[in-house]
């Protein structure tokens, strides 16, 4: 696993979390006119920190080579909770459309950034595998 370092693992987790975030934002936008619907929010940073730091905390003591090593970065399961900052409108809906659109744009941009970095990482691997002669 030495070729696939913690950066790649981290990027993988980030992309998975961004996908979950995108799904939740889509759900909020679709339900912007649903009476009584409460906007939902992904506890993003906490989940990412947990996923990245979990390696140190949850590593199983392996005193036999037959022991299974737990890979903690995948799958991700962040907490999704009602957004407490939402203001309830007359029909009990707490979705703020412009805020959701802004969040979605930000999320998409950061997803693209993570994908781009992963691409570069793999490109570097490919470069070294092909002794610098390969197509980057």
């Amino acid at each position: 696993m030495s070729g696939f370092d913690s950066t790649i693992q981290g990027l993988n987790t980030t992309m998975n979390l961004r996908l979950v975030n995108q799904n939740v934002i889509s759900s909020n936008i679709a339900n912007a006119d649903t009476p009584g619907y409460h906007a939902k929010k992904v506890e993003f940073e906490g989940a990412l920190r947990q996923a990245l730091g979990a390696d140190d905390q949850l590593q199983m003591e392996g005193d036999s080579p037959e022991h299974i090593v737990i890979r903690s970065t995948d799958p991700v399961s962040p907490a999704i909770a009602d957004d407490m900052n939402g203001v309830e409108s007359l029909d009990g809906n707490t979705v703020n459309r412009s805020e959701e659109m802004a969040k979605m744009a930000e999320n998409q941009l950061l997803y693209d950034a993570a994908a781009e970095m992963l691409k570069k990482k793999l490109g570097m691997l490919k470069y070294s595998i092909t002794e610098g002669g390969g197509n980057r």
Binding site: L19, V20, N23, S27, A30, N31, P35, Y37, I80, E100
Partner: protein, 145 residues
Amino acid sequence: MDFFSSMRVSASGLEAQTRRMNTISSNIANAETTRTEEGGPYKRKDAIMTATTDKESFGEILKDQLDQQVQGVLVDEIHEDTAPPRMVYNPNHPDANEEGYVAMPNVNTVEEMANMISAQRSYEANVTAMNAAKAMANKALEIGK
């Protein structure tokens, strides 16, 4: 939890907003209708929406906690507005009562127009969300190219 989950949710939003737009068109078209099958003037209709879990996702089948939080939308019922009809004095109208008043539909055209703009904006927001999911999926496919 995948890209298609996001797209299905946005599609449900598009469908719901289309239905809402249909009821608004019906209200505007019938703003002066005094005769209906049920008798009496046309009554204003309203699409009532409700949140629903994404039935097609694999997580829904597995009762995944994460996927239950991602909800689509669905028009639950077409609600008839029970507000009283607008009474307009017009003794020459064939549907006028003894005092010369005609019961006109309880449709406020200005309100319908405002509703229509809201439905249009919501539709556009759903299209944007779907395009964002598509762009992200395309970006992910570029990895390793």
